[in-house]
Symmetry: C2
Subunit: 212 residues, 2 copies
DNA sequence: GTCTATAACATGATAGAC
DNA sequence: GTCTATCATGTTATAGAC
């Protein structure tokens, strides 16, 4: 049976997504996309009016796809602290397994325009972020929920964003790739902090403190 | 007075850096760089053998320039907690003022190759990161200093990395751009955590809970 | 020798004819 | 769907200006 036009478009987009994530918009040629979809470059223009349009449709597809899983972990039953803990563990696992999502978002933040930012926030982050701030309000009423939500995402996202260069940092070990280890560290930090000193007006007297 | 060869090259690089930060390697044409330096595209090849070489030299210049300021805040006198607090505040201020550095690093992480990763870590992060881990060891001996150092950088870097889309998130206010506010939030979180619950064995155990 | 301008070539994105 | 033309861009070769 011949694939419908819609199926054909979807297939082309699914083929194109990993290419864009790996190399970025400019370094992906229409010929590469066409080759992966087993048609010729010109034929792509039968389905999509331009490379830009193909790209934007690909983004929409992959973002809406990944969004669901992200929000799931937040809308479960249980104690708020457990929900946060679960979220961090799942998020780290997903970031570790799927570099595509993270890379595409980073590329969008660097190269997108205002219209695309609105689209991404609306389609990808809005619902997830609302759930996050709600959880933060429950869990830590003394904190600004907006800043705290971003901080929590930051901790997980950044650890895996810098994966490619992390191994060259002094002291790096392969185990630092392990989602369990990273997530446990993040959860401990979020709940307890480094638990050392109050955060204002501390220890101003001694000059040249001896190392601990 | 005629500029020397070195001055001429430096000028071209300084002109090129903001272009690369804004649009990325591929979207910057040799003709654009040449126009900004008030020469023609062909003439660029008298100074640099290729676009790649021009780009790499530009990166080296901007990275070594920014590195110094980053490490300064860490090598001051004072109580470790104060040093960390100072670092976070300075880092946030710098990230807020200078988007170029941050954008170039994000682009490098996305598009660089192993050789370039090594170069960047060596020239930009190694010294800074060593100081960070040393500080972390002093300040929070119970934590893995490597993971903690990354987490601290993550909190500051990510808040400003997502600046372009932050304003579209529900609950966003202009004050969340203010380095003082962001830095204070980060410092409070690092030192105290959300101060709510212990980080293991909380609530009831549920199906699919990650191991503690 | 040192810098620059000009012209020309190869490749890739894209539009339009078939 | 395919094929061809056009345009932008990295790059090279060559020659002029100081």
């Amino acid at each position: 049976m011949r694939p419908t036009q819609l199926e054909c478009k979807k297939r082309i987009l699914s083929d194109a997504v990993p290419l864009f994530a790996k190399s970025g918009y400019d370094r992906v040629t229409m010929r590469q996309i066409a080759a992966k979809a087993r048609i010729t470059a010109g034929s792509l223009y039968h389905h999509f009016p331009s490379k830009q349009d193909l790209y934007l449709e690909a983004m929409k597809q992959v973002f809406t796809d990944r969004t669901r899983r992200l929000t799931e972990a937040l809308s479960e039953d249980g104690h708020p602290a457990d929900r946060l803990r679960n979220l961090v563990f799942r998020f780290c696992k997903q970031l570790r397994e799927d570099r595509i999502f993270s890379r595409l978002i980073d590329r969008e933040i660097l190269d997108g325009n205002e219209e695309r930012f609105r689209m991404i926030v609306d389609k990808v982050f809005k619902e997830f972020f609302s759930e996050m701030t709600r959880l933060c309000k429950e869990l830590a009423p003394m904190f600004d929920p907006y800043l705290l939500a971003i901080s929590i995402v930051a901790l997980a996202a950044y650890h895996y964003q810098i994966t490619p260069i992390r191994k060259y940092l002094p002291g790096g070990r392969p185990s630092y790739d392990d989602p369990e280890i990273v997530a446990q560290h993040i959860v401990t930090l979020i709940f307890n902090g480094i638990g050392h000193k109050p955060h204002v007006g501390i220890g101003k007297k001694r000059k040249g403190d001896p190392p601990a």
